[in-house]
């Protein structure tokens, strides 16, 4: 099977969808000719392949980029617009939260906004807090948006195809570090459904619910714990909204223990939602308190030892899991 990074998998999805559907166009800062151009990135080579009509390099103008997507989508196009890094989303937030998410509802169900906002995110590159801040909980808290955060290149390709074909606004958050790690990706056309979690590793003793880059942390921790006799089941959410409650609850009811792992900061993070879900609907099956493993409530620090401290890792996950046995 072909080995692609997350970015390359998204790139392949974009190319395949653009080839099949002229309504699909891509716009963003430096996506055609860019300062961050790299063969491992999502928009690499698209300008050469599809030309400037369909690959629009924009000014540095996040609100207009997001507005472009809202307006173009209601007219029947299928924009994929890139917000370079997650913290820059805040400048586009009015268009995404007040308009993309709400205008269909305000139309009484008459209008559609089939747009994708592709956002790079995550700590680990020493880029500091204004480039690395994970804000998925903000968008997951906005009804009207779908939110996906793939943890593998294969899911990224399938989710991007689903996102482009979806009739609703989809926020597609792609971790930067994953752009540099190859993994197997099926060739050709397939979709990964939005709103469906995936058991990345079956287990019997404890459920770890996670997404995006933290999937790798969970897999490595699980393999260590396996040797110590603790069987971990890993639920990769893939989609935060809609949330696949059934898969989470089935797993939690089976194992009786839940640890939620995410890179975003702890307080108000989406992990609280998963914990609440278990408390509301699987309380009687829980054998131990629910644990959250997340970044501390601080901006992402720059210096390497401090940034490493910020990002949850195998040690912190293993410690949390052991604390409930």
């Amino acid at each position: 099977m072909q080995q692609l990074t997350l970015g390359q998998a998204i790139n392949q999805a974009l190319r395949e969808e653009m080839r099949c559907d002229d309504r699909v166009f891509v716009a963003g800062e430096g996506i055609g000719v860019g300062i961050h151009d790299d063969p491992r990135m999502a928009t690499h080579g698209l300008l050469e392949a599809f030309g400037p009509r369909r690959v629009k390099d924009t000014p540095v103008t996040e609100a207009a980029i997001a507005g472009l997507a809202v307006g173009a989508s209601v007219m029947g196009l299928r924009p994929v617009v890139e917000i370079m890094f997650n913290p820059f989303f805040t400048i586009a937030a009015d268009q995404i939260v007040n308009h993309a998410a709400k205008l269909r509802y305000l139309s009484g169900g008459k209008s559609r906004f089939p747009l994708v906002v592709l956002i790079k995110t995550g700590a680990g590159l020493g880029a500091g807090c204004q480039h690395s801040h994970n804000l998925e909980a903000w968008v997951a808290h906005s009804p009207g948006l779908k939110v996906v955060m793939p943890g593998t290149p294969a899911d990224a390709k399938g989710l991007m195809k689903s996102a482009i074909r979806d009739e609703n606004p989809v926020i597609f958050i792609a971790d930067m570090i994953l752009n540099f790690i190859p993994g197997p990706v099926p060739e050709g056309d397939y979709t990964t459904p939005i709103g469906v979690a995936d058991i990345k590793k079956p287990g019997t003793d404890v459920t770890v619910v996670t997404w995006s880059k933290m999937l790798g942390v969970a897999l490595r921790a699980a393999s260590q714990l396996e040797q110590e006799g603790i069987s971990v089941e890993i639920v990769d959410l893939r989609s935060l909204s809609p949330l696949d409650e059934a898969t989470v609850l089935t797993s939690v009811k089976k194992t009786g223990r839940l640890v939620v792992l995410h890179e975003a900061t702890r307080t108000g993070g989406f992990g609280g939602e998963i914990a609440a879900l278990a408390a509301e609907k699987a309380f009687d099956e829980l054998k131990a308190p629910v644990k959250r493993v997340a970044a501390p409530d601080i901006p992402v620090p720059f210096s390497k030892p401090m940034e490493d401290f910020y990002i949850p890792n195998e040690t912190s996950l293993i410690q949390a899991i052991k604390s409930i046995f």
Binding site: A64, A72, V74, M75, L103, L106, S107
Partner: protein, 318 residues
């Protein structure tokens, strides 16, 4: 403009005026609907003149002061009224109310009350026209206050850079909330801001419906010929407060009185009477006609069913 079209224009001015006068009356009784009404009384010529210059395929994006824009684009008074009454028969099944009405049937795709929020969306709808090669324009209405928002500047820059077919119509009604223009911006004219984006601009008497019509018609032709966007500043005046709960303590009485002397309806009426297009009798007929339309709309709204509470859960996703 043909005589009949001029009479239709006057009829639209009267319809907007009467529709909103009735809204204000109805809003006094909470049994009808609650909340502050935001009306365009005194500014009707901008909506009516623009509406007359546009074709059905043209898109409008509007703001909190939208009733006139929607009516002039061809939205049905009874379905707007039902929406304002919160009834299921309203354009948006009661989910929008007075502030957010969308009428995709006439390409009125977005009424946003985030000040300046619609301007980037107009860039998107205009981009779609350019991308698909379709001949329609987008008109985006906003007030003088919105031109201070970052979204205005980002949107005008992108629209100009890409030569998009969009007409930005600023209704400068002297007040942004309680602030006069000189209290919120250093420029004398909002139109001056177009030069920062190498964009054409024009200042129009916003109380002269025929002048607005001419300006928008010309701008439409220019947009479709590929010369890029235009900013039209319509100078007008807000007779009332920002909304009906605004006591207008900051608006000088003599200023209001002076602008009422420049009533857009009286102006067009006088012009049509002078030209012989209109008689006092035919004017009375127009007034009576719009009065009946508005009363019919109120009856339709009042007798329409409420939505079931749980209908609130519908229409989030397609």
């Amino acid at each position: 403009m043909e005589h009949q079209e001029q009479k239709n224009l006057l009829r639209m001015l009267l319809l907007i005026r009467r529709f909103e006068e009735r809204l204000v009356e109805l809003s006094q009784d909470p049994k009808n609907f609650g909340g502050m009404m935001i009306v365009c009384t005194g500014q009707e010529a901008i909506a009516a003149g623009t509406g007359a210059a546009l074709l059905p395929e043209d898109v409008i994006i509007t703001n909190h002061r939208s009733h006139g824009h929607l009516l002039a684009k061809g939205a049905a008074p009874d379905l707007i009224m039902a929406e304002i009454f919160g009834r299921r028969t309203g354009y948006n099944k009661g989910k929008s109310g007075t502030l957010h009405i969308a009428v995709p049937e006439v390409n009125a795709l977005c009424t946003t009350t985030v000040v300046g929020g619609g301007i980037p969306i107009a860039v998107g709808t205009a981009f779609a026209a350019q991308y698909t090669g379709q001949n329609y324009v987008t008109v985006c209405f906003f007030g003088d206050g919105a031109s201070d928002e970052g979204s205005f500047h980002e949107a005008l820059n992108m629209a100009s850079l890409w030569s998009l077919p969009v007409i930005f119509i600023c209704e400068n009604n002297v007040y942004a909330g309680a602030q006069r223009l000189e209290e919120h911006a250093k420029v004398k004219n909002i139109a001056d801001r177009a030069s920062a984006y190498a964009m054409r601009s024009q200042i129009v008497d916003g109380n002269d419906a025929l002048a607005v019509y001419d300006a928008v018609k010309k701008a439409r032709e220019d947009c479709l010929s590929g010369t890029g966007p235009v900013l039209i500043e319509c100078k007008t005046y807000r007779w009332g407060g920002h909304g009906t709960s605004d006591h207008q303590l900051y608006q000088p009485r003599d200023e209001i009185a002076a602008w009422k002397e420049r009533c857009p309806i009286e102006k067009l009426k006088a012009s049509l009477l002078q030209a012989g297009t209109l008689t006092e009798d035919s004017y009375q007929c127009l007034e009576s006609e719009v009065g009946q339309i508005v009363e019919q709309a109120v009856r339709f709204a009042q007798t329409s069913p409420w939505p079931e509470p749980a209908e609130a859960l519908e229409d989030v996703f397609a």
